[in-house]
Every structure is written in C-alpha cells, then in structure tokens.
C-alpha cells in the first residue's frame, strides 16, 4: 500500500457525454430532471455542478454516449465551455488518489466497474439506502485496482454435493499482515489475472463476504467467499465465467489480488432486539451466512432479536451450507428452505414459503427493529412481485429497507413503488 496522501480537494466522478458517439438527439436533455444537460450546435454537455447522478438520462440514450465518466478533482471538473469544444472525450488522466487514513477518511472514488454495478443495483429504488442506524461504520475502498491487496488462499472446499449440477465453493482468503477489515454484507473485488479478448484487464468481479467481521476463523486475518462456478450465460449458453473459474480452481497457497472492501448500505444492525429477515437463493446466501454467523458467535446470540431466513435452491445437494444450517438451533434462527427440483415433489420456491408464513413475516416487518435483506437469483424477483405474495404478507415492504450488496451473478434490489412492488436490476450487463 502506498503512503497515504491527502489531496487538497476530493476526487469526484464527472459525468460526460462522448461527442463521437452522441447523435445529438436531445433525449438526455429532455430526461434530465435538474437541467444539468445542455447543448449548442456542436455538442451536448453535462454541468458537473448540477448533475445529481440520478441516472435518469442513462437508459433513454440510444447510443450509450451518455454513459461516460472521468475521475477529476472536485474543484476542477471539465467546464462546460471546454466540453462544448470537444471532438473526442479526453482520456482519463491520472488523478492523485487520496488513500484513506482511517474510517473517517475513506477514498471518495470507487473503480468504474464498482460504481457501475452499485448504480445498477440501487437504481431501482432511487439510490443507495441508508444502513441501519446501529450498523458499524464500514471501511471502504482501502485497496484500489492500481494498488490491490494480495491474499493467500488458505482453503477451497466444494459446498455442493458431487452429484449436484452446480459447483459452489467456500474459499478462504488470508490477508497475512495486510489490513483488510470487512463487515458482514460488504463485498470485495477480485482481479482475475490475464486480459480479455480485447487485450484489456478483466473487469473487477464483486463477491459478498461470507464470514463475519472477526474472520472465517475467529482471530485470524481471513475471510471467506461463496463462489459458484459460472459455466453458462444468462441464456443457458456455455460461457466460462472468468473470475468464478479462476477462484474455483485456486489451490491452497495461491495468491489473489483483491480490491475493496465496498458497501456502506447492506450492513447488519447491532442493537439488541433488532431482527433480521433474510431472503436468498443460491450464493446469495453469502452475506446471510456472515450475519448469522456474527450473531451466533456473540455470547448472547439472539440479543432478544429474531432471525428469519428464507433460502431457496434446486435441492438440498445444491444448497450451500445445508449441513451447518440444519444444525442451527430453532430458537436461534427460523429457517425455511425451499427446493425447486426435488424428484417427485412439487416445485417449491421462497415465495411459497413466505406465503405460508405470511402472518409471521408481516408481524416481523411491522416491528421497526426489523431489517430486510434480499440477495439472489433473478427469477426470485418476478415471483416476489406476485400480488398473492404481497397481499398474503399484507404489509408495506418499505420502512426499514436495506440494500443487498452487489455481488455475484444477479442481484435483486427492491423499490418502494406503492409500498408493495419489488423491482430488480440484473447487474451483470
């Protein structure tokens, strides 16, 4: 890690339009609610002083020209007059990075990939939700792409049964003497080695931490990840996931470049009496495991609060952490496992179980000390929008909202339209 430097100003991400790709259709200017976008006869430009990063202009842009960002010093963004003269976007120039010196001075700029994923994951609900009031203060962005931490693999275990169709792994990374503090619900970025087809470094891939803050093994400087080997794309076509295959193939002693940590929102409450309602599928269980484990390791595990988990997978053989989960005491956590592909049994999904337990779910949600966490596969979202699920639960899902971290293949977020509609964004675009 380089020596911490404190710059006079902070570094900001400036929103810019690529004049080479833009067709001057005016759609962005029309869709901007704060009048940050304007044009002359030559270019369309964004006023850094007005842009609120609401992203309303991003999806209507037919060309993608709108989706450009540069890190600049906050006191010296590209002025409008200069943007109006551009024929091409300037390259990203090196901006002196301000390294955090502690939790109170985190770096203000995240890698583009992380920003993009975070924006996509939170756009459905109009931005990042605040963390629970009693959440611990997270460290973020301690390690940048230029300056990653190097972790050593200290374990790589298959979680799913040998006959299961998916290969899900529990990977333990040890940070040695490097400082890499994480909280439950935060994510870390993995830099897979090598270059992509166009000769560039691979994108950062984010994974939720599956272990609690004091490490996979308490008092060790390590953490764990739950990684599914990606062997097909969303459409079911064969596609080897770059980072997941890299991780799943790691052997004990191998080195991994890690960036982050990230996430300031999907954090667990720490006050006694707080309840966690967790809904997940597949590897979406990683942050849920971390939070559950955090509670379990406390001397008074429940702290007068409740834990309720709805967890879906194809079958028990494909459910990560199935064994340890089933051994947790009922009074500690109320677990509902839904299996959608058990031979000779009807398909069961998390929403079916929520519907069956609607009264308890509703009661829990009415308690203002309940925090809702949702992480998993895309199919879950559509199911959760079903009116029968919403009315069965008969509740406002809003209130104590918290955001899922943005990791893995799919992330579901939810947004409080009419206090009852769920919404998702697939972040792996």
């Amino acid at each position: 890690m380089t020596t911490a430097t404190t710059t006079a100003g902070t570094i900001m991400r400036q929103h810019l339009i690529d004049p080479e790709i833009c067709i001057r259709c005016n759609t962005c200017e029309e869709s901007c609610p704060v009048g940050a976008i304007s044009h002359d006869s030559r270019n369309y430009v964004v006023d850094a002083a007005k842009c609120k990063f609401c992203h309303n202009c991003i999806s209507p842009c037919p060309t993608g020209a709108i989706d450009n960002w540069r890190h600049v010093r906050a006191e010296a963004p590209y002025p409008l007059a200069e943007q109006l003269l551009w024929d091409t976007l300037p390259e990203q120039v090196a901006v002196e990075e301000s390294q955090p010196t502690g939790a109170d001075s985190p770096a203000t700029t995240l890698p583009d990939d992380v920003e993009r994923i975070a924006a996509a994951a939170t756009s459905g609900q109009g931005g990042v939700a605040p963390p629970p009031w009693s959440a611990a203060h997270p460290y973020v962005n301690l390690y940048s792409i230029q300056n990653p931490a190097v972790a050593t693999v200290s374990g790589n275990f298959r979680l799913t049964a040998e006959e299961a169709s998916s290969d899900i792994r529990h990977i333990v990374l040890d940070f040695g003497n490097a400082s890499f503090p994480v909280l439950e619900g935060q994510t870390i970025g993995i830099l897979a080695p090598g270059l992509d087809a166009s000769g560039r470094s691979h994108h950062v891939r984010l994974y939720s931490v599956a272990s609690p803050r004091d490490g996979e093994r308490p008092k060790y400087n390590n953490l764990s990840l739950t990684v599914k080997r990606v062997t097909e794309d969303h459409g079911g076509k064969e596609a080897q996931g770059v980072a997941s295959n890299f991780l799943c193939d790691l052997k004990k002693g191998d080195k991994v470049n890690v960036v982050g940590p990230y996430g300031t929102s999907f954090l667990m409450p720490n006050h006694p009496g707080s309840n966690l309602l967790m809904i997940c599928t597949g590897t979406g269980s990683a942050p849920m495991r971390a939070m559950t484990e955090r509670r379990r390791r406390k001397s008074v595990p429940n702290e007068d609060g409740k834990l309720m988990l709805f967890f879906g997978a194809r079958s028990a053989a494909e459910l990560p952490y199935f064994g340890p989960l089933t051994r947790l005491p009922k009074e500690f956590i109320d677990i509902h496992l839904a299996f959608s592909r058990v031979p000779r049994q009807p398909r069961q999904y998390v929403q079916d179980l929520i519907r069956a337990r609607a009264a308890d779910v509703a009661a829990l949600l009415r308690d203002e000390n309940t925090y809702l966490y949702l992480c998993g596969l895309k199919g879950m979202e559509k199911a959760l929008t079903k009116p029968s699920v919403r009315s069965a639960a008969a509740m406002a899902w809003t209130g104590r909202r918290s955001m899922p971290s943005c990791c893995g293949r799919d992330v579901i977020t939810w947004k409080p339209i009419d206090h009852s509609v769920w919404c998702e964004r697939d972040v792996r675009r």
Partner: protein
C-alpha cells in the same frame, strides 16, 4: 378475443377501465397482428430478438430489454405525463387551456394530421421487411427489428388517438392504416417517400438518418399541439425516434469508417479498386446521401402552403421548439424566406410566415441533418482522407412544390433539361451503383461477425458486448 390489458398492452391511458377503447382495440389488435405477420419483417417471426420494450414512461420503465419474439412484442400505449395547466401556445387560441377533447371545428384537420403521421409508421415497416435477410450482423439485424417494432408502436400510438377521440371515423381510419401498402399501385401509402423501396442496408441507414429525421421534426411540431393528447403522445414517441436516428447516423458512419480503412490499406481512391475490395466508395455514399436528402426535403410539403398556415393558426401543429421561439407565436405580420427560381436562378423571396411554416421546419431539419453529415466528415478526416460529404442544396431534385418544375444541381445552380440529363447520374445513384451495393448484401448472422463493407459499432446495445447474441434463431 379477450385481452389482459395490463400485461399485453402496457399503457398509461387507463385501458383496463375504458370499455369503449377496449372494444375498438379488440377488433383492431388481431388485424394488426395479421398485418404484422403478412407485412412485418420477413421470415423472422420465430426469432428471439433482444429488444427494448417500453413498459412505462418513467426512466426506469421505458427501456426494458429482453429477448422477445416480434409478434409477441408488447406494443403499448403511452402518453408523456400531463403538464398541469398546459396552454395552447400559438395561433389564434394562444393562451387558452390546451384541449383535452377534439375541438369540433378542427376535427377533420386533426384527423388528417394524425392519419398522415400514422400512415408512415406501418409504411416503413413494409419498406424494410426484407432487410433482415441481408443483415450485415446480428447487431444490425437487432437494430432493424427494434426500429420495426417501434414503428409498430408508433402506429399504435396514432391508432389510440383515432380510437379514443374520433369515434367511428377514427376506427375506419385505423383500419385503413392496415390496408394501404407501401408501393402498391392501387392503394399506396399517403406520402411519396414511403412508397420508395428500401432495397439495401445503405438505403436503410440513409432512410433512418434522413427520412426518420423528418419524422422527428414532424413529431416535434405535433408535440407542440394544442390538442393535449396528441402533444403528449408525440412527445413520448420522440424518445423512441432517437433510436432510429442513431441507427442511421452510426450505420452510415460505420460504412464510411470501413471504406476509409480499406482506402488506407490499399492507399487508393480509385473507385474500381475500392469496389473490388468489397466496400462502398465515398462518391457512391455521396449519391445515396443526395437521393435520400432530396426525397426527404419533399416530405415537408410545399414551400408555401395554406394548409400549414391553417394548422398553425388553429393551434394544431406548432413549430419545432415553438415555446423556445422569441416572437408573438401568432406570426400574422411576419415573413419568412422561401426559395424561388427567377430568371434561371434560385433566389430568396419573402413569404408570409404562416404560409412558409413547412419551409421553416425544413430549415430546422436541414441544420440538424447537416450537423450529422459534419460528424461523418470527421470520421473521414480522422482517417486522413481528403474527401468531404456535403448536403445538396435544398432545391435539388425536388418533386413537390414550385421548385419541382426546375432542374437544380446539388450546388443550387439552375440547369437546362439537357444539362440535367447529362449530369444527374453524377449526383444520384445509378442502377449500376444500386446493383453494386446490392451485390455486397449477404447475411452475416454469427455473433460478433460483421460484413466486410461495414465497421463494427463502438459499443453494443444496452452495454452488452458487440459480439452479444442479439438475435437467436429458432
């Protein structure tokens, strides 16, 4: 046939509660689907296409991407959100509250405007229906289909207005929109340019750049209408229209890019050598540009037009960016320059502004179109090739209005018939040009592969990679 309105026809016009509208659509929707199957993209009904569907008008809902079979595309009905207290902003009714119902005295003019606009939408789908068979890539095929389904949605938008506000006449007009056919000798589409063929992809890109841009300007002026439902409908259509401009601008730009690359590889500007290398020479691109530009000029109508004056005066159709114009928005005593041929020269004459509104819109359009041509020139410049594309004179090759009786060169020189006969093939694509361009058209349908005559795009659709499988054949 019963329709689940909220699912099948996404809308923000309260369709589920409007029995009259439902009944009209129950009749029309199956006919539309039949028309789509007959006249929509050829041999492609079963493809899964990565399409954008509007499911609501807010920024989160209007661009929803997924694989869809085109006949199952959810053509929706959307109006931009109402603007509280909106007024009629021009003409003799200026200052009155915008109309939520059709004013009786303007009923037929309004219907005519809507039908004329509506007729262009299915027409272009018909014109483009064979292009999928010769697409230069899956990416382009997907873009073609996106344009097609959105033209379909624009037809829906106009049909909604006809059904919701024009009673029986409206229903009959809506049916007639499905009965006319582009290029049909007996029952053609209303406007000339929409009866021309779109035989190859260069034509398609030129069409989406030039002719769809006319659509943009017509929609912009209708979006100023005092008839509020029309204004709001057109406003939303403009968001989609931008994609069509994009397909045209980037399509032609990529053709130019590829040609320049090959010219530099071969270090030649010899047309024969460039053609032999399987790319489209820049002079041919210029001739296509001249053709599409001039055909589109005619779409704006006669230079001096009493209809245009009436539409404006009665508050039905405004100017481009009407509310941003710094004048009285009545234009009774103002004048506007129009072109005339006097003594063998094209000269500027002043016409009453109200009568010259077609010309005004044409000028707004030309400014926009020329700016894009300049962006194409930047591609050529960047490759270091000394060639400049130019928009022809507004009066070139006109078939409508007083200028149509003269022969005028791309630089605005009035020619004799003989001069025109000798030179017009320097300016407009010849049969040989078209045959050459057609000879390059062959289907490339492997993800990430592009025909030799066109460069790949700078980026994919919806942040997908360029080699994404934008269309899946089943």
């Amino acid at each position: 046939m019963s329709i689940d309105y909220s699912q099948k026809i996404p809308n923000n016009v309260g369709l589920a509660e409007n029995r009259t509208l439902q009944r009209a659509l129950e009749h029309w929707q199956p006919e539309f689907i039949d028309w789509w199957k007959d006249m929509g993209p050829d041999d492609s009904q079963n493809f899964d296409v990565y399409l954008r569907t509007a499911v609501s008008v807010d920024s989160a809902g209007w661009a929803h991407f997924d694989y869809v079979k085109m006949p199952e595309y959810r053509w929706g009905i959307f109006l931009n959100p109402a603007e509280a207290g909106r007024k009629v902003n021009f003409g003799e009714h200026k200052g009155e509250a915008a109309w939520q119902e059709v004013p009786g005295e303007y009923r037929s003019n309004l219907r005519r405007l809507i039908v004329t606009q509506g007729d262009t939408e299915p027409a272009s789908v018909e014109q483009q229906r064979h292009l999928g068979l010769t697409c230069p890539s899956l990416y382009d095929m997907r873009n073609l289909f996106q344009v097609n389904v959105e033209e379909g949605r624009h037809l829906w938008a106009m049909v909604y207005l006809l059904h919701a506000y024009f009673g029986r006449d409206g229903r009959e007009e809506a049916e007639a929109l499905l009965e006319r056919r582009s290029g049909d000798a007996d029952n053609p589409r209303i406007l000339g340019a929409f009866n021309e063929r779109t035989p190859d992809w260069l034509s398609f890109f030129m069409f989406t750049y030039f002719t769809d841009r006319d659509g943009k300007y017509q929609l912009c002026s209708l979006a100023e209408s005092g008839f509020d439902p029309l204004a709001r409908t057109c406003k939303f259509m403009l968001t989609e229209e931008a994609h069509h401009m994009f397909v045209g601008e980037s399509g032609v730009g990529r053709v130019i890019q590829r040609t320049c690359e090959v010219m530099n590889q071969l270090t030649t500007d010899d047309v024969a050598k460039i053609r032999a290398a399987g790319v489209i020479d820049l002079p041919t691109i210029q001739r296509y540009l001249n053709f599409h530009f001039s055909v589109t000029m005619d779409l704006f109508g006669a230079d001096v037009s009493s209809n245009a004056a009436t539409f404006y005066n009665t508050g039905l159709k405004g100017r481009y960016e009407e509310t941003k114009q710094d004048d009285d928005h009545l234009l009774n005593n103002a004048s506007y320059p129009v072109l005339e041929v006097v003594n063998g020269e094209v000269v500027t004459a002043q016409a009453p502004y109200l009568n010259a509104l077609n010309e005004r819109l044409r000028d707004d359009y030309v400014r926009d179109a020329v700016a894009g041509i300049e962006r194409w020139n930047k591609i050529i410049q960047k490759q270091g090739i000394p060639f400049v594309l130019r928009a022809p004179h507004k009066a070139f090759n006109r078939k409508i209005g007083p200028l149509s009786s003269s022969k005028i060169s791309p630089t605005g020189k009035v020619l004799s018939e003989a001069e025109w006969t000798h030179h017009h093939l320097e300016w407009l694509p010849s049969i040989e040009d078209r045959a050459f361009v057609s000879s390059l058209m062959g289907r490339v349908a492997e993800p990430g592969k592009f025909a030799n005559w066109i460069a790949p795009p700078a980026r994919g659709i919806n942040n997908q990679p360029v080699d994404f499988e934008y269309v899946r054949f089943n």
